[in-house]
Symmetry: C2
Subunit: 357 residues, 2 copies
C-alpha cells in the first residue's frame, strides 16, 4: 500500500531545508521499503507570487489527498504590507483549519551535544524534555467577529474574539492527557482563569477529563506564571496543554530555552492522525538563499511524520539515530556553532545525515 | 501642601510587605518633610471576607481621593472557587479601570549584587535594564462581550473580546515613546499583526506616532518572537510597549530573567500621573504569615511612587540608595538567598533599610 507525502517548501529558507529533508526521506523510503510517493506544491508567499493566493485550490486538494505533509515555513518582508486576508500566513492558517489539524505537538528538548547553546545555566536546562500541546484550529486565531470598525465617535477600533466550545477543549485535552500517559504522567493546563471567562470553561473541561485519566497528575497554571516558570525551572514540566495564542507564545519561549530552535520539529494532527510536520522556527528571510540554514528541525519533523502519521517507527528511529551521530561528529550549522564544532552548510548537514543512515 | 497616600495591603504576603514599605515611607516623610498622610483600606480577598465584595465603595472613594496608592497583592486559593465577578482579582482590576490607570510601567532590572540569582548565564543578563510599558485598562481584560453561553447544539462556549481603539493605543504609545526618550531611545512594539486585526491597528498607530518622536528608534516584533528573544538576548531591548494580555505574560517573563522577582516594583499611572504602585510578584499564599517574604519590591514601589506621582526625587533616591547598601551588606530574604548571603526575615530586611536611610 503506497502513501502520499506532500512537500510544501514555502518561503525564505523553506525550500533549502525541505530539500534536505526530502533526500533523507527518499533514502529511508528505499532502505525500509516504505512505499512513499512524493509530491510538492506551493503555499504562502511562493503561492502568492505564482497564483496570487497563499493557498491555491490545487495545493489544498493535494493536501487533503496526502497521508502526511512536510512544510518548510511561510512569510517574509516581501509580503508584509499585504492586507491580512492575503498574507502568506493565511496559507498556513488555511491548511490547519481546512484539514482540521487541531492538535499541535511541540517538543522542547535539549540535545546533550548542544547543551552549551542555551542561554540558561546548564543545571537549569540539562536533560530538558517538555512537550507542549497547543490547540491549533480555534481560539482567538479563528474567532468571529473580527476586524477593524469605525465607531460612532469617528475613531477606529480593532477587535478579535477569543472563543472555545466545550468539545474543542475536550478533544485537545484528550490528546494532551494521552501524551502525558506516554511520558512522565504530568499535565499542566495553562489558562488565565482569573480574568478570562473562556479559560474558566477551559479549566472546567480539563478538570472533568481528569477522572478519565486517573494515572495522570493534572495541574493548572496562569499563563503569566507559566511564562515565568519556564525561565525559572523548566524541568518542573512534562506536558503543557493550552490554547492557540498562549501556545504560540509559550512554545516559542520553551523552544528557545534549548538555545537550538533550529533543531526542534512540530506535528499538527487531526482526528484521523493525518498530519502536517514543520520545524518550530520560521522562514528566516535574513539568511534565505545563503545555504547556511539548519535543516535538522525539518529532518526531525520528517521522523515525527514517520512515527505519528505513517506508523513507521523503525524508519523514524533510524533518522533520529543518524542525526545524533552527526552531532556526535561535531558537525554544526551556523546557528548551533560552538568552539568545538565544525561549521557546515545546509547541504553538507543533509549529506552527513544521509551518510550516517 | 499635604498629600494622601493610601495603603492597600490586600492578601497573602501583602500585609507583611506593605508594613515594611510603610515604615520606610514614614521615615522619609519625616526626614524630607514630605507632608504625607497615610490611610489604609481593604481590597481583594481581605475585603471579600469583611464586606463581601473585593472593592468596597469606601476603598474606591479613598483611592480616588488619594494622591498615590501602595498595593501589596491580591488573591489566594481561599477565594479561587468564587465566580469571576466576585473574585479578589476584580478588586485590582476595578481599581485600575475606575482610576483610569492605563499605563503600567514594569522595569526588569538585574541588581548587580544579585546577578547569580538568575537562571540565565551571567553574560546574557549582566547589566539587564528593560522597561515594559503595558496597557492596563483595555484589551481582552475589559473587552465586551464576554461570558459563557449555551450554543444551539446544546454545548457551552466561552468567549472574550480583544479590542482597542486608536485613542487607547495612542495614549499608551505616547507614554512608551516618552519613556524611551528618557532612556536608551529604543522602543519595541509587540503585537501579533500577522494574525490579529486588533494588533494590525495597534501597529499602524505606533507607526503614526513615530513621526512625533524622531529621536526614538521604533521596531515591531511578533509576541511569539518577543517571548523567544527575551530568553535568547534580553539586552537587545530598551523599552517594550504592548497590550494588556501580552504585557502580562512578557513582563512576568522579563521579571523572571533577573531571578529576583521579589525585587521588582511597578507603577500604574493615569493621565494625571496619579498612580498605584505594587510589587511585580503576587500574593504568594504558600509563604504568607511566615515573615519570610521579600519586602524590597514594595519598598522600591514606594520609591517609584515618590518619583512619579509625588515628585520627590531626593526621597526616592534615598530609599534606593538605602536598599543598595543593605544588599551590599549581604542581607538576603529567602527568595534571593545565596551562598555568601546572610538570611533575614521580612521585618529584619525592612529594619535594615530603615537603618541605612
Ligand atoms: C506564522 C504564524 C501564523 C504562526 C502562528 O502564529 O501560529 C507561527 O508563529 C507558528 O507558531 O506556527
Ligand atoms: C492578578 C491578575 C489579575 C493580574 C493581571 O493579570 O493583570 C496580575 O497577574 C498582574 O500582572 O498584575
Amino acid at each position: 500500500m503506497s502513501r502520499n507525502v506532500l512537500l510544501l517548501p514555502g518561503d525564505g529558507i523553506g525550500p533549502e531545508i525541505v530539500t534536505e529533508a526530502e533526500k533523507v526521506l527518499r533514502k529511508v523510503n528505499d532502505k525500509f521499503s516504505l512505499n512513499l510517493n512524493f509530491e510538492s506544491a506551493l503555499v504562502g508567499g511562493a503561492a502568492i507570487d505564482e497564483h496570487d493566493t497563499p493557498l491555491p485550490d490545487e495545493t489544498l486538494a493535494k493536501a487533503k489527498a496526502a497521508d502526511a505533509i512536510i512544510l518548510g515555513a511561510v512569510g517574509g518582508p516581501k509580503w508584509d504590507s499585504r492586507p491580512m486576508a492575503s498574507r502568506p500566513e493565511k496559507g498556513l492558517l488555511g491548511l490547519r483549519s481546512q484539514l482540521g489539524l487541531f492538535a499541535n505537538l511541540r517538543p522542547a528538548i535539549l540535545y546533550p551535544q548542544l547543551a552549551s547553546a542555551s542561554s540558561l545555566k546548564p543545571e537549569v536546562v540539562s536533560g530538558l524534555d517538555i512537550m507542549i500541546v497547543r490547540e491549533l484550529t480555534g481560539g482567538i486565531y479563528f474567532g468571529q467577529p473580527r476586524g477593524v470598525r469605525q465607531l460612532e465617535s469617528g475613531e477606529r477600533q480593532g477587535y478579535n474574539t477569543y472563543a472555545y466550545t466545550e468539545s474543542e477543549i475536550r478533544r485537545i485535552g484528550r490528546v494532551a492527557f494521552e501524551a502525558a500517559q506516554q511520558r512522565g504522567k504530568k499535565l499542566c493546563s495553562v489558562d488565565k482563569a482569573n480574568v478570562l471567562e473562556v479559560t474558566v470553561l477551559w479549566r472546567e473541561v480539563m478538570e472533568d477529563l481528569r477522572r478519565e485519566y486517573p494515572d495522570v497528575e493534572l495541574s493548572h497554571m496562569y499563563v503569566d506564571n507559566a511564562a515565568m516558570q519556564l525561565v525559572r525551572a523548566p524541568k518542573q514540566f512534562d506536558v503543557i496543554v493550552t490554547g492557540n495564542m498562549f501556545g504560540d507564545i509559550l512554545s516559542d519561549e520553551a523552544a528557545m530555552l534549548t538555545g537550538s530552535i533550529g533543531m526542534l520539529p512540530s506535528a499538527s494532527l487531526n482526528s484521523e492522525k493525518q498530519g502536517m510536520y514543520e520545524p518550530c522556527h520560521g522562514s528566516a528571510p535574513d539568511i534565505a538563499g545563503q545555504g547556511i540554514a539548519n535543516p535538522l528541525a525539518t529532518i526531525f519533523s520528517a521522523a515525527m511524520m514517520l512515527r505519528y502519521s505513517l506508523n513507521e517507527e523503525a524508519a523514524a528511529d533510524a533518522i533520529e539515530t543518524a542525526v545524533s551521530k552527526v552531532l556526535d561528529q561535531g558537525l554544526r550549522t551556523a546557528d548551533i556553532m560552538s568552539a568545538e564544532g565544525r561549521k557546515v552548510s545546509t547541504r553538507e548537514m543533509g549529506e552527513a545525515v544521509l551518510a550516517a543512515l
